[in-house]
Amino acid sequence: MSEELKSSPHSEALHEGASELRRFARALVGPVSTRTADALAQTAIVRIEAADRLGEDPLERAFAEIVRLNRRRVRERGRATESAEISGESERREASVANQISVMPLDERESLLIIALAGYGYEAAARILDLPVSSVVSRLMRARARLDGARPGVAPRGGHLRVVK
């Protein structure tokens, strides 16, 4: 049995952020698999807690670890395009925001949630998702356009996309 006391600032930051990590993991995994999401978050916390790297934000690294673990989970279970699994009945029913996000392509969901839910800026989001900032922003824009598509009376603007930092 471990009796390790969570005492370092590194551990303290992870402990303080545990609730946010689990919230993000639950949103990322989807509404019907809370147990899996909690396991992702807990695993990320344990791994990052075990590797205290000077000068790095442990919470940011834990978010990145959740993303990495979830990508691996999805890859190994062949669920890369969960949107393909929406039934006709689901499509007809008015979807909640959580539901719409749960059926989004994973790459768009990651970018949307790390920014709109976890509250990270674009550069931190790029570090967490291990992507260029331009990719994060374009995925975020696609995710929002997808949500816009379910909202009556809002049409996307034409024109090219330009990336800002």
Binding site: S2, E3, E82, A95, V137, R157, R162
Partner: protein
């Protein structure tokens, strides 16, 4: 729109997310004032952000106690093919109703299932690189309660305890009747100041306040149970928990870790 320079789609998103510098944010604000259509879209994304925050409430701040493997597990961790929340909730409600009925039947199978599970856990190797690491389930909850009890009462100048230790016989009898604790433990180098009775799961917990020679208050929480050892820290207050003789104990205080560990070792050791 003569007064505003054109802004890109990405800048509108960056504006919503607070990612623009002051100068560019001002330019976008001017643009939005003159472009109601874009203003509507920006408002929509803000509403999306708010809706996302509401859609995923933060879980309670309990520590996750998860100890299972995704690989080699008999319990699949996949999502159902239709991840509709309402469907899920309706199914869950039905399942709960059915569970009450099924509980009686399930009892007959529980023992054999438990034996099978124990057998598998002891005979199957842990994967070398699992997706989820094997996490030892540690009962930190009791230690956390000790920290909260310390914060609530230990520094209360008016009434930190209900019963003062000057009437040791009365205190012992009172505690035993309410919590089952036969005798308040003694701590070398510390003086028992008094006790409280706190509500606990399925019973009462004994709250014992000691003062170290330095004057620092430490709290010993005791209640019936047999949890695993645990530890918890919040700010400068930390706690360690253990079980002994069908009682769970947790000692908490704003003292150095080494001192707290020594106190816990003394209390948990042979008496």
């Amino acid at each position: 729109m003569s007064g505003a320079s054109r802004v890109s789609e990405a800048e509108l998103h960056a504006f919503v997310d607070g990612q623009l510098g002051d100068e560019r944010a001002l330019a976008v604000a001017v643009w939005l004032a003159e472009s109601p259509r874009d203003g509507l879209r920006v408002d929509g994304w803000r509403m999306q952000n708010d809706a996302i925050q509401r859609a995923f409430p933060a879980p309670a701040r309990e520590r996750a106690t998860l100890a299972f493997r995704a690989i080699d597990s008999d319990a699949p961790l996949t999502m159902p093919s239709t991840p509709a929340i309402e469907d899920y909730r309706a199914r869950r409600r039905r399942r709960r109703t059915m569970a009450l009925v099924a509980a009686f039947v399930a009892g007959a199978f529980a023992a054999s299932a438990l034996a099978l599970f124990a057998h598998r856990m002891t005979t199957r190797p842990i994967p070398s690189d699992p997706i989820f690491v094997e996490v030892t389930t540690v009962s930190d909850e009791f230690a956390r309660r000790a920290v909260e009890a310390w914060r609530t009462y230990a520094r209360d100048p008016a009434r930190p305890v209900e019963v003062d230790a000057r009437d040791m016989a009365g205190l012992t009898k009172w505690l035993k009747e309410r919590t089952g604790l036969a005798q308040p433990p003694t701590i070398s180098g510390a003086r028992l100041a008094g006790a409280r009775v706190l509500p606990a799961h399925g019973g009462n917990a004994a709250f014992l306040l000691y003062r170290l020679a330095s004057g620092d208050p430490v709290v010993l929480l005791a209640e019936r149970g047999a949890r695993s050892p645990g530890a918890y820290r919040s700010g400068d207050v930390s706690a360690r928990a253990w079980s002994r003789d069908s009682f769970d104990y947790a000692i908490a205080g704003a003292v150095p870790d080494a001192r707290l560990a020594a106190l816990a070792a003394e209390l948990a050791g042979p008496r």
